[in-house]
Structures are given as structure tokens and as C-alpha cells.
Amino acid sequence: MATVQFKKIVKKFGDNLVLNGVDVDIKDHEFVVIVGPSGCGKTTLLRMLAGLEEISDGEIFIDNLLVNELHPSKREIAMVFQDYALYPHMTVEENMNFALRLRKMPKPEIAARVTEAANILQLNKFLKRMPKQLSGGQRQRVAIGRAIVRKPKVFLFDEPLSNLDAKLREEMRVEIAKLYQRLNATIIYVTHDQVEAMTLAGRIVIMNHGIVQQVGSPIEVYRKPCNLFVAGFIGSPTMNFLAGKLSVAGGVTVFSHESLTLPIPAFVLPQKEAAEGREVVLGIRPDDVLVEHPGGEKCSEKVNGVLEVCELLGHRENLYLKVGAQRLLATVEAFFNRSPGSAVSLCFNYQNMHVFDKASERRISE
């Protein structure tokens, strides 16, 4: 297992700047998920690490070894591709031992490694089959098996679950988590699905427009998103955003919005950030919008709104509310027995409220 470093990585496709100065440090045995919307550059970054794309500028180190000019097969990496990339004309067994055969490894050792990987992934029954005879999930496991037998320094996963249906995706997510526990390998995993990122990662690297937005553990990134993009990207359903102005009156900071006014206590927003007339965006997750709640010292005062649509999700319920002209989403316990159109009162949980500076989009709250 190894460490991986990206230093000031720049990538241009012609005039198109895809990656603009990316610095990431990945420790040994770490499971890092690189997540972001389509086109943010995450797959390009992964492919540059694998050696499948040229590096416009910057350096990549694997185990402190500069690998910019190294051929992919010499970097001691293994990659699981989005479309599995299983060789259609070879059996499962041949697919798995192809790389080992190329390195002219002794046959007994090849057989041992393949058996070991097959045991881990429950592929023993399929070894003699051809890829087209396997289901999507089975093919995915063969692709992973092909990577395991290499015993590489780093495992690279390129959106491995995007071609699977929802149920299979959940199953494979658990499989990959168990695999990580078992192998304790350095894994770099690219996906656009923030649920995969949150559930699998030891650390998440969030990217947008070729720039790293934030690096941190799932909890850090969820609880303390450093900018608007991260706040809106992580967490499902999406965070509510209210754009407004701050005003300071008598040591009390007040957030003014066209539809509501809210005092902001000091433990949420430190004094030095509260400037008169500062344009900010308030962020509050649907779970922290409390509807028909008794209130408390950590909650704001009540605000009146109208219930527009209810979505019953089984255990929880989504309530689409309207406060003045502003729409808000609240998630509450199921069976909130009110009909659409009825008036409801809501308050906000100050403990999980975020304030972002509108111009810089950075978080300024605690």
C-alpha cells in the first residue's frame, strides 16, 4: 500500500482548462472518494494517476516516486472501470490472471492469487464462464477481482456502480466497504453520487470546475461545508438556501429576507463576521426545519408558513412549505396529518444553521 500525492495538477484539453491547480494528499491505507458533478474533472484526475491521460502541468507521486512519465503498467496500480472493461473473448479466470500472465509469474502463484480473489468475491462458480454470461453485478465483481490479484499499491475505482440498478448499487456498496475492511488498501474512488461518497469514504475530496472545493471526513463535510457548493452538493435532500442581508442593531445580528426576518445568535455567527448590510446566504437543512415544534433555546422563534405539498417517504415525510415568497423543504416524522394549503408554524434549529458570504460563497458561521 502507498501514499499518493497530487501537486499543482493542471490539465488542458486544447484550450479547455479542465483541472486548475489541484493539490491532494492521500495517506497510506486510506479510502478517499473524489466526488463532484459531471465535468468537474474527477475522472480526468484519476486517469492521470493511472497514466491514461497526459499531465499538462504538475506532479503525481505514488509512494514518493514521481510517476509522470511512467507507463501505466509500471505504476503498480489497478483500476476498476465504469463499464468493467472485461475482455469479452476470455473466461473470467483468464480475465483475472491476464496481468499476471503478462508478467510471467509462476503458474502456481497465479492460481493461488486467483483462487484467493475468487473466494473473497464469491466468484468460484464463475471462473470458467465468459463475461457475456454474467449479470451486471457479477461482472463488476470480476472487474474488482482482476484488480485484487494484482496486489497493487493503489486501487482506482472509476464510477464503478453507475451502471447498476438501485438495489444492486446498495448491495455492491456494502461489498466494497467490506472489501476495504478486509484488504486495508489505499483506495481512490471517483463518483458523482454523494451517497456513495458519504457511506464509503474515510475522506472526501469534493471538486467542481476543476478545483478542489473541500477535503475532509464525511462528517466534517456534512456538518461544516466550507462553501455554498459543498453545502448544496452534500446531503439529501438538498439544503435550503435563503439569500438576504445582515443588519446589526444593539449588538444583535438580524438576518433580513424579503419573506422573513431572523435574529442570528452569536454562537452561530461570530461578531467579527456580522457587518451591517453584508449580503449573506442562510443555509438550513430540511431536517433542521422544525414544523409545529414546541421550540426551545436552540431554536429560533416561530415563523408562519403554508404547506404546499406532502411527500410521504415511509418513515419520514417531505413537507414543501412556503413562507411569504420563499419556498422551504422540511423533513419530519411521517404521518404529519395536515392537508395541503393549511397554515403551519415552523422554526429553525440554530445549532445546524450555516451562514455563507454571498460574494465569496464561503462559510462564515461557526
Binding site: A50, L52, H71, P72, S73, A85
Partner: protein, 284 residues
């Protein structure tokens, strides 16, 4: 029990009858010449030139076939054709497979120009190049040899083969080669071990196309080969049907012997050929 037909069903039946009738007429027009050759090939020796139109003539016999195989060099002509055609196809497909891979997977200066050149070479009238090829072969003292013929034929189907193979390679996902690169092959190794085994349908089409083009060729052979021993079957058959003296029986017999295998091969591979014409929509 009498079932009454609806007006719609009646119309459907009429349409069906008309269609079948029309198709039968056209199909007959297409097949009839072939059947005529067949019947001429079966005519007994004294009735070779006759006004009889029946498919199986009176006194049908295989004498034309035996005369053809015994008294002429027909088998030798077939052998010549086979040898030349196999060599040409082999060379043509080999050259085309590597070139098509370069066009499919790489970006390099001159790629666009190369593709346009390939396309426009299809437009050159075939007759135009026969003369210089003839003179070149004469100068190289390769007249009337196999080698001269193979040289003349080998690049004639190259542009089309490259086009077909490139179209097919384009449908193979690049992630297969990338996986091979990560596993430890070179770029060329990936081509040899992964892409080529997967391209057998397209390679077969290219081979078949090369084969049929060379097999059926007449004009170049007429110019390069001049001794009966070296003839391809096209020249040989032409010899049998002169302007004034036509060996009808043997000509017909020879035609049948050549046509039946070609038809079988064509029909067997026709579904591939048709989809090959739509450029690489076939995928393994």
C-alpha cells in the same frame, strides 16, 4: 361453417396475392438466366445448340462437365485463381487491419487527409490504372506470373477494407485497451491480444470482400496473363465463349461449377456483408 371475410381482410388478401405475384415474376427474372445456364450444361453433346427452352433438357447428361474437366485446363485455372486470390486477400487484410487501427485510435497530423485520400481513391476509374500497372509489371519481367497478378490485386481492395475495419474498431470501447495497458501490455500489444481477437466478424468481411473482388476479376488478368496454363478461371471461361465458335456446353458447365460455391459463400455471409455496409454496427 362459412366465415365471412371483412372488407379489410379481403383487401389484405388481395394485396398479399399481388405482392407475391409481383415478387415471383421479378424473382423468376433474376433466377432464370442461371437456370438456363444450368440447363445448357446438361444438354447432350449433339443438341448443344438448340432452341429448346426447357430447364431439364431431353436426354440430360453430365457430358459437358466431364469434357470440361478432362479436356480443358479448367481445374488448373481454378487452382490459379485460388492461389492468387488467397495470397491477395491475406496480404490485403493484414495491411488493412493495422492501418485501420491507426485511424481508429490515434490522432496524428495527416489523419484527415489520409481518410479523404482513401475515400477519393474509390472514385478513380478502375480502367485508368490498368495501363500503368501493366507497363510496370512488364518492366519488372513479371508478365504471366502469379507474382505479377498478386502485386496488381493486392491494394485494390485496401481502401474499402480499411474503411470497414475502422468502422468496426470504433465500436469497441477504449476502456478495453486501457484495461490492457494497466494490466501490462503496450499499445501494440493491446491491439494484438485484445482488439484483433474481437474483430473476427469485420476481418471476415474484409477477407470476403478482398476474395470476391480478386476471384471475379477479369480485365487485369486479361492483360497480364497470356498463356493458357496461367489463366484464371475468368479468362478460361471467356476463351470458351468466342464470337463465332462457342463451346456452349463446357462454358455452361464451367459457369455452374464456379457460380454455385460463390453463391453459397455469398448467401452465407450476406447478413454480415449487408450490415458491414452500414459500417460497423456489428458488435461482438
Amino acid at each position: 361453417m362459412k366465415k365471412k371475410m371483412t372488407a379489410a381482410a379481403k383487401r389484405q388478401l388481395l394485396k398479399s396475392i399481388l405482392l407475391h405475384a409481383g415478387l415471383i415474376i421479378f424473382a423468376a427474372a433474376c433466377v432464370y438466366p442461371l437456370l438456363r445456364i444450368f440447363s445448357v450444361s446438361l444438354r447432350p453433346g449433339d443438341k448443344l445448340v438448340s432452341l429448346d427452352l426447357s430447364i431439364i433438357p431431353a436426354g440430360a447428361t453430365f457430358i459437358s462437365y466431364t469434357k470440361l474437366l478432362r479436356d480443358t485446363m479448367f481445374l488448373r485455372w481454378l487452382g490459379n485463381s485460388l492461389l492468387i486470390t488467397l495470397a491477395t486477400s491475406f496480404i490485403g487484410v493484414s495491411l488493412a487491419s493495422t492501418a485501420a487501427y491507426a485511424f481508429s485510435r490515434f490522432r496524428f497530423p495527416g489523419k484527415k487527409v489520409g481518410m479523404i485520400l482513401l475515400l477519393s481513391s474509390q472514385m478513380i476509374p478502375a480502367g485508368m490504372l490498368i495501363l500503368p500497372l501493366f507497363l510496370m509489371i512488364m518492366k519488372l519481367k513479371l508478365m504471366n506470373t502469379y507474382l505479377g497478378m498478386i502485386i496488381a490485386y493486392s491494394v485494390s481492395s485496401l481502401p474499402f477494407s480499411i474503411w470497414i475495419l475502422k468502422g468496426y474498431y470504433d465500436t469497441i470501447p477504449r476502456s478495453l485497451e486501457e484495461a490492457a495497458l494497466v494490466d501490462g501490455t503496450s499499445q501494440v500489444g493491446a491491439f494484438w491480444r485484445i482488439i484483433l481477437p474481437l474483430s473476427t466478424p469485420a476481418l471476415s468481411i474484409a477477407f470476403l470482400f478482398n476474395f470476391t473482388t480478386a476471384w471475379n476479376e477479369y480485365l487485369v488478368a486479361r492483360v497480364v496473363l497470356f498463356s493458357a496454363k496461367q489463366y484464371t478461371w475468368t479468362l478460361g471461361l471467356f476463351e470458351l465463349q468466342g464470337q463465332y465458335i462457342t463451346q456452349w456446353g463446357m462454358f455452361a458447365a464451367g459457369s455452374m461449377l464456379v457460380t454455385i460455391p460463390v453463391l453459397c459463400v455469398f448467401l452465407y455471409s450476406s447478413k454480415w456483408l449487408i450490415s458491414g455496409l452500414t459500417l460497423g454496427s456489428v458488435k461482438g
